[in-house]
């Protein structure tokens, strides 16, 4: 263990500031178990589960752009009830916090899901931001009263930390984040994917069956940095940064912008070394801290602000 890597987000103590982002690598409990044995992983966020099972969209659902992925999976998941059962089998013996991502479409669903999932979760991330599913995600997130109702219902149904994941696809993301914090969210995860689209020049058609999708990866990193930076100045709650973290510099950049912890998604699939990307990034962050004379990663959170 590396004591200098420990951070605390909304009451969750993480042995590393690096977390697995929701949805990447899907929902398989065995992958969660394998990932959790990596000492540079501080927490795992599950695939977003919804009230009812969803089969997701038809293929093509993902485009590899090299500098990122464009995806419109359509939130395929087995539904919260079956997922709770599967997570129960993983939870035992898991050394790191398991954050369950949920995508309820209204308050009643939120309440029922969280009550059921509470026994297998160490915390919740409310997905207010999936850019390509109607009635869920952004649709919910940009309707202030609906989003606030859902976060309140989650807050009211659990004593565990609640993160709200926000979208970059709105004009006023600060208002959305503030709204979620006022409704009871302990922390904000920023950002989900950026709306985008790809057309194949040979087929002369949109590639994704859903036409529109969400861009992740390297390409969105500056967008994430900017949003985390602004949120840090405007809201009090801790921020979990997410978007295009491929190496230690990207992670440090988000932390300097104000993130307490950092989520990693696309890089797991884009890196040649798979899950070892966490170790490469972890080592890089430790080297950086040592070089700059810091004993803990906590000391650099938001430092880009004070040095302006």
């Amino acid at each position: 263990m590396h004591p200098g890597m420990e951070v605390e987000v909304a009451g969750l103590v993480l042995r590393s500031p690096l977390m697995v982002a929701s949805g990447v690598l899907g929902s398989s409990p065995s992958l969660i178990r394998i990932i959790a044995t990596n000492p540079d992983v501080g927490a795992v966020v599950t695939k977003t589960v919804t009230y009812l099972p969803r089969t997701g969209y038809e293929n093509p659902t993902v485009v590899d752009l090299g500098y990122g992925f464009l995806n419109a999976m359509g939130l395929p998941n087995p539904g919260y009830s079956e997922y709770r059962f599967e997570l129960g089998s993983v939870k035992k013996g898991l050394e790191i916090p398991l954050i369950v991502s949920i995508g309820p479409s209204d308050e009643d669903e939120a309440e029922e899901m969280v009550e059921e999932l509470d026994s297998v979760a160490d915390g919740f991330e409310v997905n207010l931001s999936c850019p390509h599913v109607e009635n869920l995600g952004v649709e919910v997130g940009s309707d202030a009263s609906k989003a606030s109702g859902i976060v309140k219902a989650v807050r009211g149904s659990t004593g565990k930390p609640v993160l709200a994941k926000i979208s970059p696809n709105v004009t006023d993301f600060v208002a959305n984040a503030r709204n979620a914090v006022e409704a009871g969210a302990d922390a904000i995860t920023a950002i989900n994917t950026v709306r985008g689209m790809a057309i194949d020049v040979n087929a002369m058609r949109p590639v994704l069956s859903n036409v529109y999708g969400g861009l992740s990866g390297k390409a969105i990193h500056p967008v994430a940095v900017r949003i985390v930076f602004e949120l840090y100045e405007k809201i009090k709650a801790p921020i979990v940064g997410c978007g295009g973290v491929y190496d230690w510099r990207d992670a440090v950049e988000l932390i300097l912008a104000g993130a307490t912890a950092v989520q990693i998604g696309s890089a797991i699939a884009h890196s040649q070394t798979g899950l070892k990307v966490f170790n490469e990034i972890g080592e890089g962050v430790r080297r950086y801290l040592a070089l700059k004379g810091f004993s803990s990663v906590k000391q650099i959170i938001g430092l880009a602000h004070s040095e302006r």
Partner: protein
């Protein structure tokens, strides 16, 4: 593949009916595609969907796909007419390891006979001693045997009802053949229950066995997790589709898979 576009364009040159359920598309590619035996492609028709297929022949700018009509997308693709287009991305996955020492026995059930053909040709071309067993329920369901004959391939047939060749299942035929001959390597593609039986026999006999698995492949890139083999956490699209039998026996191999919603369901075939 050319990084400047997402998909490679291919035109159907001919469509050969193998059985009432299976067709082989002969495609002309807009540029050459390098693909190792056992790797797969994602095959897309706008509006009809996109599915993973292991090619049954690759020769320069000619590529064959042998497709069983099991649902919407496969039925649409299998019914394409000459001149129509499909779009390909890949190759994906690991492919078979054909450089292990010794003799090879290839066992293809259903469309697996077609998918194993590039491996067969590659081994024979290198002078490796290879025997190819293909099987189906009955004579009418045999896939790709005409093409194998055209290619001058030496192969033996098993049918469950004995309407052609050995009477019995492929695992039975395998037992029969391996009691008379010794092989150091077995490669198999076919119904999963069949592959499990063969893999178990191989482990008993200390023979190396490589199987090609089918799971729901969405991204093909290792990012979405829909193709995971539990409890090993292996992604079929990047860690596979080819696995060594002994590494996956005892897992969900042959027993459970995940459906499109990620629910754990029984393997039926």
């Amino acid at each position: 593949m050319n990084a400047s576009h997402y998909y490679l364009e291919a035109t159907v040159a001919s469509n050969i009916s193998e059985t009432s359920r299976v067709n082989t598309l002969v495609l002309r590619l807009s540029e050459e595609l390098k693909i190792a035996p056992g790797q797969f492609l994602m095959v897309w028709r706008p509006g009809d969907g996109e599915i993973p297929i292991t090619p049954s022949l690759t020769m320069g700018e000619t590529l064959c796909l042998t497709i069983e009509k099991v649902g919407f997308t496969s039925s649409r693709l299998a019914s394409l007419k000459p001149g129509e287009k499909v779009f390909l991305r890949g190759p994906y996955g690991n492919g078979f390891n054909l450089s292990l020492p010794g003799r090879y026995l290839l066992i293809g059930g259903g469309t697996g006979a077609a998918s194993l053909t590039p491996s067969y040709l590659s081994l024979v071309r290198r002078g490796v001693e290879t025997l190819f067993l293909v099987g189906a329920r009955n004579r009418e369901s045999l896939v790709y045997v005409r093409r194998l004959r055209e290619l001058g391939a030496g192969f033996q047939v098993a049918t469950d009802d004995g309407s052609e060749g050995f009477k019995g299942t492929l695992p039975e035929f395998f037992m029969e053949v391996s009691s008379r001959n010794r092989f150091e390597n077995v490669l198999t593609i076919g119904p999963e229950r069949m592959m499990v039986k063969i893999a178990e026999k191989c482990v008993e006999q200390g023979v190396s066995c490589q199987v090609s698995l089918v799971r729901i492949v969405r991204c093909g890139l290792g990012v979405c997790g829909s193709c995971v083999l539990d409890p090993l956490g292996l992604r079929v699209c990047v860690d596979g589709p080819v696995f060594h039998g002994e590494k996956i026996l005892g897992s969900d191999f042959g027993r459970f898979m995940r459906d499109e919603a990620g629910r754990r369901v029984e393997v039926v075939q």
